[in-house]
């Protein structure tokens, strides 16, 4: 790594003693010698193991659940169904007043994605829990499912989630989050060229070294200690408190040493049901995702579709940009309404464009609910925007890097969501990239600055 101090030299100072120093990490020796204790290193006498019975169908009505054989299986201590969960229908963003509650801890009457949790089995060993889970009989009536976002948005599509009543999230702004700036149609009308293109991504996995999980211990003082690898301690505690209808003072969460998160450990999935298991059995409970569960059950990054329409002038100025973004939330909201909204605040990217129109949709389909992941709401948008920039440059016969200089935002420029640009540094990053990659651009671009002219 190289620190290039010649940029912004007037505002960056070398007057610090501890900050800015490459001090060795205090936790590294523990990590590399195997001495660091992660949650799964906790082992308690009498600890039970929780395994889930999961839906084999993408969309189905549950006619009946028969747990009698599973309960008789040697080593099984408790079998939990929806009726055991005090507040079974929940949504995690309710803590910041983003509803409605739309997801069940354990399926009640219906499953909406293949892999959805239906019955929880607690047993003396993982093996006994797994074997007993296979003995739970669930009678399903399979329903038509919808996987494609465009299909889901068509009239007459199977309804994924009754708590929404429609296959998209209803914002206060309507069916999508909107940004309107300037007059995009007038911009297109005055443009030398129009380019419209659609981009698509697939769901991806966070792939942390350590899979999602927790170990819960009922304490002698009527409290529960939850050792967890959540990325958000109080967010998880407060949601567990709601789901379990248990005062937060009864809950003690211990975590903070995590083998990778990348956004995959903010969904509050394992903790509430494990705490419930510990409460109902009076014994410690361990609930840890297998690698298969981590990959196919825990939320992936959403698939997204991004449609960009641009109006560009021969001299390189983009004068109008319309973006329509679709986020595939899967069957439940989790963090997706927030992610789609984050996209609306991010477009049209780090460029100053006078006419902008943005619509971002959060769409429900019968697949594994997606949720937060590194770059949430932005990563796929950047893929689409920056491939589009490459296309536009080639369309008008301009160097792709020079084309970006022409449109790059600078301090003081008004963004589409009506905030003035502050602290811009895109131009300087591109100047340094030009130098480092031996990708020469005209001298006038190398002389540009993100600072406001004359300020």
């Amino acid at each position: 790594m190289e620190l290039r101090k010649n940029y912004f030299a007037d505002v960056r100072k070398d007057d610090l003693h501890e900050v800015g120093q490459p001090r060795p990490r205090s936790d590294s020796p523990g990590h590399v010698t195997g001495k660091t204790a992660f949650f799964a290193d906790r082992n308690f006498p009498g600890m039970l193991h929780l395994k889930m019975v999961r839906s084999p169908h993408h969309h189905a009505r549950i006619r009946s659940i028969d747990t009698s054989e599973a309960e008789k299986h040697p080593g099984v201590v408790k079998v939990l169904t929806a009726k055991d969960v005090p507040h079974n229908v929940y949504t995690i963003l309710i803590l910041i007043q983003i509803g409605p509650e739309d997801e069940t801890v354990l399926a009640d009457g219906k499953v909406r994605w293949k892999g959805e949790a239906v019955v929880a089995v607690l047993a003396e060993t993982e093996r006994a829990a797994q074997e007993a889970a296979a003995k739970v009989k669930v009678d399903y009536e399979v329903l038509p499912a919808v996987f494609d976002m465009e299909e889901a948005l068509k009239p007459g599509a199977p309804l994924v989630n009754e708590y929404h009543g429609r296959n998209y999230y209803l914002y206060d702004s309507g069916e999508c989050r909107k940004v309107r700036f300037g007059d995009v149609e007038a911009g297109f009308a005055g443009a030398d060229h129009i380019l419209e293109q659609s981009y698509q991504s697939s769901p991806i996995e966070h792939a942390p070294t350590e899979t999602t999980g927790c170990v819960v211990v009922p304490e002698g003082n009527d409290r529960f200690t939850c050792y967890t690898n959540t990325q958000a301690m109080f967010f998880t505690l407060d949601n567990a408190s709601i789901i379990l209808q248990m005062p937060g003072s009864k809950l003690h969460f211990v975590g903070g040493t995590v083998g990778g998160g990348f956004g995959g450990k903010v969904d509050v999935i394992v903790e509430p049901i494990a705490i419930l298991g510990a409460k109902l059995t009076g014994r410690p409970v361990s609930f840890i995702y297998s690698r298969e569960e981590e990959m196919q059950i825990s939320s992936p990054r959403a698939a997204e579709k991004v449609v960009i329409k641009d109006g560009v002038m021969k001299d390189g100025r983009i004068i109008a940009r319309k973006v329509t973004g679709y986020t595939d939330a899967g069957a439940y909201s989790r963090h997706s309404p927030y992610g789609a909204q984050k996209g609306a605040g991010h477009y049209p990217g780090p460029y100053t464009i006078p006419n902008v129109w943005i619509d971002t949709y959060c769409v429900y389909t019968n697949r594994t609910p997606s949720s937060a992941m590194r770059g949430f709401g932005v990563t796929i948008g950047d893929f689409a925007l920056e491939v589009q920039m490459d296309r536009l440059a080639r369309l008008i016969g301009m160097d792709p890097l020079e084309f970006r200089f022409i449109n790059a935002y600078r301090d003081g420029d008004m963004k589409a969501h009506r905030q003035p640009t502050e602290g811009a540094a895109l131009i300087e990053c591109m100047q340094e990239a030009s130098r480092a990659a031996n990708w020469p651009v005209a001298e006038k671009y190398m002389a540009m600055s993100s600072y406001v002219k004359g300020a």
């Binding site: 769901p203 990348f262 984050k342 990563t379 589409a416 905030q419 990659a437």
Partner: protein, 334 residues
């Protein structure tokens, strides 16, 4: 059939912190009887090294070496509230809270030292080595060890501080979308160079040159580990990863690392990391959040490089050999 070479560029920005705010984190700092400092948080270290960074921020603010600071975090019985570690917010939000708490603790520390030295607290400074000196008369000094002992056993003072950082929530205006989605933005520009085998569709990323503007590199070695890892993740995202290879079809999803593809050691690109610093006005010592954005620019840069190499656009991620070959076939048919 041939190996064809191409290069592509992408430039991006990225917001720091929970979008639209309502984004709080708190911190507590206190001294032990012998002048070591405890930072108490409920923030989560995901492996990126948050504990180390908070220790350095606290040490810088109080004016002691980092090894005199211990970070106790992620225990809801002791740590004050933190929204969580996500949205590139950990260093920025918790760092600001730690600075505020450490400033308050430092003030008490200087007041106790002033009583011991019989001077005004405003005339004192720290030497960064564990001592408090009278400005302009450094021979008149007292160790922080002695100051802490005095506070605990003689003066009856608590050398401690409370810190709170809150970005108030911004509600988007319904019709125009006017909103304040973030506080500060990090930036990046990446140039990727690839080879594409037009017979197999295989893409090899030869070099990736990343320029990141991150406000301030609070610990350059740790910044490097995060940026190199992010760059790898971006390439992996571009070319390999998906849980649903034939999305929206649900079949063929990987269930382990034999099926879920990621680049191995033999697939690593030659990676260059260059860091620029434009300190942010509201960041702890100018820092922004580079955690997420560092994995973004490689994806379009690689996509653009593939086009530069073989003249086909793959607009669906991941850019697999199958998709490249199908596109080449369609191109040849036209």
């Amino acid at each position: 059939m041939a190996i064809r070479r191409g290069r592509g560029v992408a430039a991006i920005n990225y917001p720091t912190g929970m979008n639209l705010g309502g984004d709080p984190t708190q911190a507590l700092v206190h001294s032990t009887p012998t002048g070591n400092f405890m930072v108490t948080l409920s923030s989560v270290d995901l492996g990126q090294g948050m504990k180390q960074i908070m220790a350095q921020i606290c040490a810088e603010t109080i004016g002691v070496p980092t090894d005199r600071v211990v970070v106790d975090t992620a225990d809801t019985d002791t740590g004050p509230h933190c929204m969580g570690t996500f949205a590139s917010r950990g260093t920025h939000r918790a760092g600001n809270a730690v600075i505020q708490a450490a400033k308050e603790a430092r003030q008490v520390m200087l007041e106790v030292a002033a009583e011991e030295l019989e001077v005004n607290a405003s005339d004192l400074e720290t030497d960064g080595q564990g001592n408090i000196l009278v400005k302009g008369a450094p021979q008149k000094s007292i160790s922080i060890f002695d100051v802490a002992l005095s506070a605990h056993f003689k003066r009856g003072r608590s050398i401690s501080g409370r810190g709170m950082f809150l970005i108030p929530r911004s509600y988007p205006e319904k019709e125009t979308g006017a909103m304040k989605p973030s506080t500060c933005y990090a930036h990046a520009c990446t140039v990727a160079e690839v080879e594409v085998d037009d017979e197999t569709g295989e893409v090899t990323v030869l070099t990736v040159k990343n320029v990141f503007e991150i406000g301030r590199a609070l610990n350059p070695k740790m910044v490097e580990q995060q940026l190199v890892g992010g760059s790898w993740m971006g390439i992996s995202h571009a070319l390999y990863e998906t849980t649903e290879p034939y999305y929206p079809n649900r079949d063929h999803g990987g269930t382990d690392f034999n099926q879920y593809l990621m680049p191995g050691p033999g697939d690593l690109a030659e990676t260059e990391i260059i860091v620029l610093e434009r300190p942010s006005a509201d960041g702890p010592y100018g820092a922004k959040g580079p955690g997420e954005m560092c994995a973004n620019p490689q994806i379009p840069a690689v996509a653009n490089a593939v086009f530069d190499a073989v003249g086909v656009r793959i607009d669906t991620l991941p850019i697999t050999p199958e998709r490249i070959l199908r596109a080449l076939k369609a191109q040849a048919a036209n």
